[in-house]
């Protein structure tokens, strides 16, 4: 791999794409921390070249037939070789492009958003680290390498969520994200070990290949799939590990945009796509995935219906859309999940970046507050939010509509109509809560302060922050029309079972109808003249409470922590610490002191002690010689 890497343009591009952000990270951390502008320039240049390389790879391998794999030995121990390298196939190429695009746009946007922040250089260093980890993860040829970068993604997101470390809630949120995802990662790692024991290596292509079924019994495949899915649950914030994502709002908004669209949470779904043939060998595991996806999707939708925090609404919507993707994948349609992942990355980044502009301009997260201060005066973000929200709600002709349609089509293929019903309900709820937010900002009730609220415009960073929005909006509008092309792109991939694309003529109409119904309900309650802007959920106090408290999941964890972790586990460990470890050490030192005192008797010049020693030695000698 090393010898002729210059003669392989694909490999050169892959190396450039993945290594440059890392180089930027090192350079910024070591040399340019004092010069924020230089740091930002370095980071953006690195990720820009990554973007170009990624697009080059995508175009060059558009008609890829067999996956390209470049590996070199990284570690060699006995007959165990740990390879390291790049795997280029449809899944990784598409994801690489998505990650590079979003990272690039978010970093440009951050020039405006983070201007003047004390940790500007540190911010860009972490962003580079994030981009590097995520892009290297997508190109990993083995699960071990993927796992390493998977953890690095977790580390980078921890650093960025807790970026404003002087804020207590931010460090808490970072910690929560780290610990909760780690919880899933333990299961992930165990699953990998299980596969390793049976298969002998962790090569992605081999895990996806047909020979797995011959080497592992179906029970073990199910167990391994479930354990690996634990990592996905943690990373993609699915039920029951979903509460870290809403708290991750404590980081800077561009970080949220990156986290929610292309990097952190997308990593989970990407892993699902990566190992899709492996997972699909176990029908039982797939059924459980489908259930988890559905539950997360519906739970998060209900939470989003009552939240007042603009970022939090989008966070819940991310969970619910990730649930959607997992539903699509678990329903057996590989293309559905990956397509929705791609479109979602576009419009969710757009939503967060727009929210960032609002928050930056009005210094408030509360949607009522933003509306009152004149959020609709900010033309570009408002228009972009509406476009992205419509895409999120699944309205044609935006990208979200197409990808949601594919997922619903996959769900309709299933025998049980319950899943399709849940999917449609989710679509309805999504439309409702999305447009609730839009109408609240667009039609504020008491708009007294609106006259002098145009101050958002004279922010220097407005245009810097503006044009990534426009690019993303264009992607959101146009991406849906590339569905056919993407489908053809993915059809070249081997080992992916082709889902029977049955035709359900009524489905798009039902979906559009429900989405429009959701919008209409939101309009009746929030938009129209004289509406009291109180949702039907908020009128039912217990329901409102339940949703606002996130179904008491956090409360449950709190109690679980108090009762089980602190009450039982930590108590036992404290005891062990005091009694066994401390006691053992104390005993040891006590014994040493006592022995020392005994030995010191010999040095007192006292004749009787010497006599005693002589006798004892003689007794032992006698025992030794005569017995």
């Amino acid at each position: 791999m090393i010898t002729n890497w210059l003669s392989e343009p694909s490999l050169t591009a892959a190396i450039l794409a993945t290594l440059l952000p890392f180089a930027a990270f090192i350079l910024i951390m070591v040399f340019t921390r004092k010069y924020p502008r230089l740091s930002a320039g370095l980071s953006i240049a690195a990720v820009g070249i990554s973007l170009i390389s990624a697009l080059f790879l995508l175009v060059r391998h558009w008609h890829l037939q067999t996956p390209l794999e470049y590996t070199g030995r990284w570690l060699l121990s006995g007959d165990v070789a740990v390879p390291f390298g790049y795997l280029l196939d449809q899944t990784s190429l598409l994801m690489l492009s998505v990650v590079a695009t979003i990272s690039f746009l978010v970093q440009v946007y951050s020039l405006g958003y983070m201007a003047g922040d004390a940790g500007f250089s540190r911010y860009y260093a972490c962003m580079s680290l994030f981009a590097w980890a995520m892009m290297s993860m997508t190109l990993s040829p083995t699960m071990l390498q993927l796992y390493i970068f998977w953890e690095l993604v977790g580390l980078a997101s921890y650093l960025l969520i807790g970026f404003w470390y002087e804020k207590f809630s931010a460090t808490e949120a970072g910690k929560k994200a780290f610990v909760m995802t780690r919880f899933g990662d333990v299961a992930f790692f165990l699953g990998l070990l299980l596969v390793l024991v049976h298969l002998g290596n962790l090569n992605v292509l081999e895990m996806n290949g047909p020979q797995v079924a011959t080497r592992m019994s179906s029970t073990y495949i199910t167990i391994a799939a479930l354990l690996i899915f634990g990592g996905i649950i943690g990373k993609s914030a699915q039920f029951p590990l979903l509460t870290w994502l809403p708290d991750a709002m404590e980081g800077p908004t561009p970080v949220s945009a990156l986290l929610h669209s292309a990097t952190m949470v997308a990593a989970g779904v990407y892993l699902f796509g990566r190992l899709f043939p492996f997972f699909s060998q176990s029908a039982a595991a797939m059924a459980i995935f489908l259930m988890i996806g559905t539950v997360s999707m519906l739970l998060a939708s209900t939470m989003a219906m009552v939240s007042r925090d603009i970022k939090q609404v989008w966070a819940y919507s991310t969970i619910s859309q990730l649930g959607f993707m997992i539903m699509g994948l678990a329903a057996g349609s590989y293309f559905a999940g990956m397509f929705h992942l791609t479109t979602h990355a576009g419009f969710k980044a757009l939503l967060f970046l727009c929210a960032g502009v609002f928050i930056h301009s009005f210094e408030s997260n509360d949607m009522f507050d933003i509306g009152r201060q004149g959020g609709r005066r900010l033309k570009i973000p408002m228009a972009c939010t509406i476009i992205a929200a419509a895409a999120l709600a699944g309205l044609p002709p935006l990208s979200g509509f197409f990808s949601k349609e594919v997922i619903l089509g996959a769900l309709a293929e299933l025998n049980n109509p319950l899943w399709l019903a849940a999917g449609l309900l989710g679509a309805f709820l999504t439309a409702y809560y999305t447009f609730r937010l839009i109408f609240i900002i667009l039609f504020p009730r008491q708009s007294g302060a609106e006259s002098e609220s145009g101050h958002g415009h004279d922010h220097g960073g407005y245009w810097v922050m503006g044009w990534p929005l426009i690019v993303l909006a264009a992607i959101t509008v146009l991406l849906g029309f590339f569905q056919g092309a993407l489908e053809a792109f993915f059809s070249g991939q081997q080992g992916i079972p082709v889902a029977g694309a049955g035709h359900h003529g009524w489905l798009p109409f039902a979906a559009i109808g429900l989405a429009l119904g959701g919008v209409l309900l939101a309009w009746l309650e929030f938009g129209r003249q004289g509406a009291d802007q109180v949702g039907f959920v908020e009128k039912i106090a217990p329901l409102n409470h339940l949703f606002a408290q996130r179904w008491y999941i956090d409360r449950f964890y709190r109690r679980f922590m108090d009762v089980f972790i602190y009450g039982v586990v930590s108590n036992l460990f404290t005891r062990n610490d005091k009694k066994v470890i401390d006691g053992g050490l104390d005993g040891l030192s006590q014994a040493t002191v006592e022995t020392g005192r005994l030995v010191s008797l010999l040095h007192r010049g006292m004749v009787q002690y010497r006599l005693l020693t002589i006798f004892v030695v003689l007794v032992f000698l006698g025992l030794y010689f005569f017995i």
């Binding site: 040095h603 010049g605 004749v607 009787q608 006599l611």
Partner: protein
């Protein structure tokens, strides 16, 4: 031999241990000397017993020598103790540690 040889062995062993205890534990030069005497006597008892057991007079002959040596040892030892007491005013062995 009316007394079983085992009993002789036990008696001699006990006496020897008592001698050791006396030598090691008592804080007096005279008692140390006494302990040594007791140990010598324990050995002498064993020798007598053994000579009876195997019907061999060598053991009893050696015991006579032991008595003579013991008497000589006690006289020299006591004389040394008296002299040491005159020099230092103490017969406690803890005070005789100038070679430390």
């Amino acid at each position: 031999m009316i007394v079983p040889f085992n009993h002789v062995l036990i008696l001699a062993g006990l006496l020897f241990l008592m001698g050791i205890f006396c030598v090691v534990a008592r804080r007096s030069l005279i008692m140390i000397l006494l302990g040594v005497e007791v140990m010598l006597n324990a050995a002498a008892i064993l020798l007598v017993g053994a000579s009876l057991r195997w019907q061999n007079l060598d053991g009893q002959a050696i015991v006579l020598f032991v008595f003579a040596i013991a008497a000589a040892e006690v006289s020299v030892g006591l004389a040394l103790i008296v002299w040491a007491y005159r020099r230092t005013g103490s017969i406690n062995p803890e005070n005789y540690n100038i070679l430390k």
